[in-house]
């Protein structure tokens, strides 16, 4: 079913004027200018499907921005097929009058309302439980336990297990638990699935068993992207812009990198002693182990580089440091950069990082970024940047064991294959370019292995798929490092991307099939 048409601004890749030094861009803008003189629907060629109907409503000049009208469903295909432009929203401004006063009815009612169902009264009895290894029954310390008495209201109690695996939850006398999450520590990796038990009665002395990970288990990444040969992805250099990568993990080979955190040692691009996030991301792309003794990524043959932007022991990365990492990735010859990070909802524009991503685009480097995990909220920056490839997260039933955390992420919409779903946590929107498997992903962690979920995991899955595909296109990789190479890479990806039956806001063009 066709959606209604919307107006967009088409602007050159950089600035207001098409670049005189880029013949393809000049020709493209001149063609659109011609179309504006005859304002009817024109069929623009698609790299991977039927022609795209577009009306050019106005043109500021031959080499200047245009106003177009097309279906929002066609945006991903239009972006992928015609990379010599930016597609920008039309923004409308209103008089800056003072808003009228109004009664805050909802707030006033809430202030006097009773506590939500499931809320915990103060000074009530507590419940102590123990968390143990599912096979050895040894206590597991450092497990974050979150017990929801009312999941919708986010009410309940939480704590962290001690050396005996015990945690005391202040549940105020409540025993009925809607959801009990148990998150094993990830640095070092414990090799345990995060648990989820639903609608249970909890009592003092209960023991929760965490399931050990079988490294030969077919999770959602291995379901879609099992790598059979260690050479898959060879010839492509991928940079992971993240919390660093554990340099001594037996499944990983990091060829180099840089610590881009201002004030820290530039050579310290290993793990930053937080959650092991960068090591997990790197393993999804490039792990070289063989199950059941190790894990294998989507493209184990790539040349892997680590660009650390999260300071030692901290989880906040500066746009200055990230831009420095993007620039370093360009200088070091990366073809793809992975940014599994994001700003807050409504965080606004960040011109500095946006410029760095544009520079990467113009230097023949693809930047993949995570949509964000706010639960169907708009795509966050930098995934929302014009030249980022924005990735949503997909899950698949029966690619995680029962009573594990991923079971809580399955939610409509479901795809053409009803076992596929867009993860409950995934942010969505018109900037989405691809979707990737990101629910219950097994990968490397400092000192071991673990399971994580997120658009952070979906992004490296698609980076690995893109690397695997581009490795089969050496003539594209050999092109001069400029916007034409980026355009050729995107066209190659578009030709091998297939819809899974979700709306474009959820999956973009779909999933890359290398």
């Amino acid at each position: 079913m066709a959606s209604k048409t919307t107006r967009y601004i088409v602007a050159p890749v950089q600035g207001f004027y098409a670049s005189a030094g880029n013949a393809n861009e000049m020709k493209w803008f001149a063609n659109l200018h011609e179309f504006s003189l005859k304002p009817a629907m024109h069929a623009l060629a698609s790299a991977s499907g039927p022609d795209i109907p577009v009306k050019v409503i106005d043109s500021i000049g031959e080499n200047k921005p245009k106003l177009i009208e097309c279906s929002s469903d066609d945006l991903p295909a239009l972006r992928a097929s015609h990379p010599y432009m930016r597609i920008l929203p039309v923004v409308y401004y209103h008089p800056a009058t003072r808003p009228r006063q109004h009664i805050a009815e909802a707030a006033a009612m809430a202030a006097g309302a009773a506590a939500p169902a499931g809320a915990v009264p103060a000074a009530a009895p507590a419940i102590t439980i123990q968390v143990v290894h599912g096979k050895t029954t040894t206590p597991v310390a450092g497990v974050q336990v979150v017990a929801f008495t009312n999941f919708a209201a986010k009410a309940g109690a939480q704590g962290v297990t001690d050396a005996q695996g015990r945690v005391t939850l202040q549940l105020g006398g409540a025993t009925r638990i809607q959801r009990l999450y148990t998150y094993a520590p990830t640095n070092p990796g414990t090799g345990l699935w995060p648990g989820l038990q639903q609608n249970i009665n909890l009592k003092n002395g209960d023991v929760i068993h965490l399931l050990p990970i079988d490294l030969s288990y077919e999770d959602c990444v291995r379901h879609f992207y099992k790598a059979h040969f260690l050479t898959q992805g060879k010839g492509v250099t991928v940079g992971v812009v993240d919390s660093g990568v554990a340099l001594n993990h037996p499944d990983l080979h990091v060829s180099g990198g840089r610590n881009c955190v201002t004030g820290e040692n530039a050579q310290d691009f290993g793990d930053n002693a937080t959650e092991g996030h960068g090591t997990h991301v790197a393993g999804i792309i490039a792990a070289r182990g063989t199950p059941p003794r190790g894990i294998r990524g989507v493209a184990p043959g790539v040349t892997l580089r680590s660009y650390r932007v999260f300071p030692q022991g901290q989880n906040g990365a500066s746009n200055y440091d990230i831009a420095k990492a993007v620039d370093a990735g360009i200088t070091d010859g990366c073809s793809i950069l992975n940014l599994s990070l994001g700003g807050p909802q409504g965080g606004g524009a960040d011109p500095h990082l946006a410029d760095a991503i544009t520079a990467a685009h113009n230097a023949g480097v693809l930047v993949f970024a995570a949509n964000g995990n706010d639960g169907r909220q708009p795509v966050t920056f930098p995934a929302s940047a014009t030249f980022s490839q924005a990735i949503s997260a997909l899950g698949r039933e029966r690619t995680f064991p029962p009573d594990t955390e991923p079971a809580g992420d399955a939610e409509a919409p479901f795809g053409t294959d009803k076992e596929n779903f867009i993860a409950e946590f995934s942010d969505i929107g018109p900037q989405t370019d691809f979707t990737g498997p990101g629910v219950g992903v097994i990968s490397t962690l400092p000192g071991g292995y673990g399971v994580m979920s997120g658009t952070s995991m979906a992004t490296p899955a698609e980076v690995g798929a893109a690397a695997r595909l581009l490795a089969t296109q050496p003539h594209i990789l050999a092109m001069a490092p400029d916007g034409n190479r980026t355009a050729a890479m995107l066209a190659a990806l578009a030709a091998k991307t297939k819809t899974l039956g979700f709306a474009p806001d959820y999956e973009g063009k779909g999933m890359i099939e290398p």
């Binding site: 989880n315 746009n319 979920s453």
Partner: protein, 74 residues
């Protein structure tokens, strides 16, 4: 004290760092590259500096997080 990114967006080659060093007396230069400086100081001092340097733009430093999917109470 806050940190700001000062970025040269002019078309010509950016001026030598030594050339602009004198202008940065009221702020601390934390890091620098060919076209960018990370500075620390009062916002007024940073804006004053940017206004005196032709072709340079000023943006606040922004922090990005690892997107988390863990559930929390409250």
């Amino acid at each position: 004290m806050a940190r700001f990114v000062l970025r040269y967006s002019g078309n010509a080659a950016p001026p030598e760092h030594a050339e602009i060093a004198a202008a940065t007396a009221d702020v601390k230069v934390v890091d620098r590259s060919a076209r960018t400086m990370l500075i620390e100081g009062d916002e007024d001092a940073a804006r004053n500096l940017a206004s005196r340097l032709s072709g340079w733009t000023l943006h606040p430093e922004v922090q990005y997080q690892i997107p988390d999917t863990r559930k929390h109470i409250g």
